[in-house]
Symmetry: D2
Subunit: 295 residues, 4 copies
């Protein structure tokens, strides 16, 4: 299967809630999507970690999924995270997203019981058999509890036709080296670890999946452009300029920090769902300072 041309800055969307936390605020979601696309991101990724996908009911998930795809309206590709603990529910979500027009579905092998390699492979194969769109395999042991080795990833790549892209979020650059080397450069990989943005591009990543464009889109885009222009000196300077913010949003938790940052720029998207706290006063003021410096 040939994958659509997914590259560059892939912006994660938040999932805005009403003030009481009980309803989805579709209006705010629409604004946040327009802001990202207007700023120039190359793709939109709803319902990922930033989108609190794991904290939503099935009904809410469907609502956000359908609305986001329709709102993006093919201006850029939409990559919908469809991960779920059971294979059956992940299949249902993947089909739903495809039916509503998603260009790509992203799959993290969420787990409660540690999965064997055979179980992970079967999970991807079953999802792959259920949809016609490409799948971005997503490795993020810190949130999923499952660390897929490069060998396993390449095996899945080989066996499941529509797994055509890899998002790597271990933060270990050697994984990208292995993906590049062992596949002879045939596996497009994307970086999901913000403070690794410079090095991942240096190592050949095709894109950067990040929530940062909600707050500093131009710096993200400029870094990618500098790499395309083969200007390492400029890329390094741009990276170090945005690094304090990248570290802040990672350390503070993406839903909490991005929602707080959007509030600071005038887009009210509610708070994360408990037990996750919104940013405290000290952190909000630190975020304000970081953003001020960058504007």
């Amino acid at each position: 299967m040939s994958s659509p041309s997914i590259h560059g800055i892939i912006g994660y969307t938040i999932s805005p809630f009403s003030a009481d936390g009980e309803r989805i605020d579709l209006d705010a979601l629409g604004h946040s999507i327009d802001r990202l696309i207007d700023s120039g991101v190359h793709a939109i990724a709803p319902l990922g970690s930033t989108g609190e996908g794991a904290y939503l009911s099935d009904t809410e998930w469907d609502e956000i999924s359908a609305y986001s795809i329709q709102k993006v309206a093919k201006r850029v590709p939409t990559i919908v995270s469809v991960s779920d603990l059971t294979t059956a529910k992940a299949v249902r979500r993947a089909r739903f997203a495809e039916a509503h027009g998603a260009d790509v579905v992203m799959v993290l092998p969420a787990s409660y019981w540690k999965l064997s390699e055979a179980e992970i492979l079967a999970h991807y194969a079953t999802i792959g058999d259920s949809v016609g769109v490409p799948i971005m395999l997503y490795n993020n042991p810190a949130t999923s509890g499952t660390d897929m080795s490069v060998d396993l990833i390449l095996r899945i790549f080989k066996h499941v036709d529509n797994v055509t892209m890899v998002k790597e979020s271990t933060g270990d650059i050697q994984r990208m080296h292995q993906l590049q080397r062992l596949s002879d450069g045939q596996v497009p990989f994307y970086n999901g670890c913000n403070p690794l943005a410079l090095e991942a591009f240096a190592a050949g990543a095709k894109g950067w999946c990040t929530a940062a464009p909600n707050l500093i889109p131009q710096l993200n885009l400029d870094l990618y452009q500098a790499v395309l222009d083969n200007d390492l000196t400029k890329a390094r300077a741009l990276f170090y300029r945005q690094l304090p913010l990248l570290e802040f949003i990672l350390k503070g938790g993406l839903p909490a920090t991005i929602k707080a940052g959007l509030r600071l720029v005038g887009l009210e998207a509610g708070n994360p769902r408990l037990p996750v706290f919104p940013l405290g006063e000290a952190q909000r003021s630190q975020l304000q300072q970081l953003l001020t410096v960058l504007r």
Copy 2:
């Protein structure tokens, strides 16, 4: 709050599915509960890790919860696991369990985004405020992604009135030492790591939360009795006798191994939900041998 007298062998139940995996088989569940109680366990714990609680829909969860409590019918205490990713849903489950007659609710701080200590404390406090039954705090970083330090556990104990028991499943015996020492023996702790059964009792654990009584109840009970009888030599011999089976069920995953074992003894409870596989042929035959030796 004074806790009910929870002690000894606390047996986890499986969640039986129909052959197509889509319905709950309440009949099989009832049989498995009766088997455990008839064998002599001191308490019943539905919907834990063994019970595939994380893999159930809300409707299924309610169905199993209500049925289990009613089936136990106060013959022994029932400890219902009510963990959920959001505080709101964990509260709902805790209230549901209490309303249906649960004696204790068990809470693991499930997480996708890493939780701060303040977030974890607030999670327990909110659940504690919502119910009148005692809470067994459950620490199991391997499945929850959150490791609560002994300091944090003791702080929760102090601040949340109805947190009155701790289930420790890190497998690190030093945690139990710390719980004992730093609380001057005032925090009753329970062991959730099967291959630590002997040492946890040696260190003073009040009970052992385990799925093993589904397969080898007498050996589990005898080990506990030997400890009560202050007979270390006998306890050690009993422990080493059952250790191969304890390691097997841990390594193979509790839902897969316990369901396979029940099938071997004539109780059909279906398979685990995908992506978790049922035991393969080689493992089934190994399990059969382990069980044969122990009978």
Copy 3:
């Protein structure tokens, strides 16, 4: 090869230095050995971690080795640690110790470059071929940088005739279970992790290698006796009584804490060698309090 009857409380000696840190104070060493033997320990172990073996010149090592063996004078067995980074030097030390009358030599596979299993096996085999006394294999990844699996340990046991005992210091009780199970109880194991003393004996350890008898010999001996008497309740109480001190000496570093403790009881043994600091004032006073409570 049949091993001598090594069991019970195996006391580590410190290596006393003169006030300027440059000479070995053999007099103080002799006193410390007599104190240990008079208190009733079942064996003496010079030049281990507590003895700062790694910080000594070859000349100093020889001096302490020869003197200690002669001073013990077969009142109890002497187990000399002969570990060194190169095989050649470890062989030299093992022969030296044997020639001077050591009953057992202890070997940790010290490493700078990570060793393969074949390299570790050859290291033990070469030392084994060079001496006639039994070897206690010592696993302590925290200080050696090499973690020997139970499988590897059993392979060494099988291939090297005079490796007849295992000292396990990972702090993971499951290693002892595996040693017991996989060898059908044929491999005598000894505990080297102080806060695991109770559980190691519960699991069947034949002895406890510890520096604690320099400070609290009677409590150490009583714990062992309670286990021999099959009195778990008493063993548990004795263990929790001494646990604060055991944790203190582990956390503070054995040479620093034991030398400070000996000074508090009137035996001046100098300070550890820099960069290791002697205890600070706050720690010394904490140690004094811990010791006072236990007397």
Copy 4:
């Protein structure tokens, strides 16, 4: 203190032994140094990990140190590793190296007992007070057992005047980001992890400390030159070209692989000291193939 201009490719030397392993082969050492300098490396670093510094007697260490400095003869700077377990011996080595003309001394905080931050700081301060040459602080937890945080490194930098450079070998690129950010670019850092060569230069490393120039000097130098030329595309291609060899020498252990490689190109330097094995036949043939491809 202003540091000499240490930058670019810093080549580690091996320590050649005679065939029986007992003597230093100074002739071979001289040839290996000449080869490195003739190939264009920007500095020479004897007695590091590659040089088996930890496996030498004091006499051997002195012999190699004095001979290497004299042989380099200021053609490029010489950076001598003077690490030792005790502060006193590290001071002696640092003074010896300075007296014989070393331009820089490198210090790893070797440890048997875990060192506190105060102990590490005092270790560096004492060595710093003892010599007049600059010190390159070296962080390599995998071999030293001590991981210095960026905070601690910066504190040492501030307190010890002649600590003017940092060699970072954790393999975690975020450490270099922190060194750059928290020091406002005032701390020159050098990469000691071969498979991180591309990304370390991308992140701003001033140099690469590596044994690889013994085998593939031109590729190492070309990578550095491409970075100086701001040609990321070329640097990336050069990096991936040499990566298989870089990974091979890391995984196989530097003394074993570099000595085997030198033998393949006609320079006999003996074997590593036991327990470290020389390369086996299969690995030698793999190394030959890797080298053939690169020539």
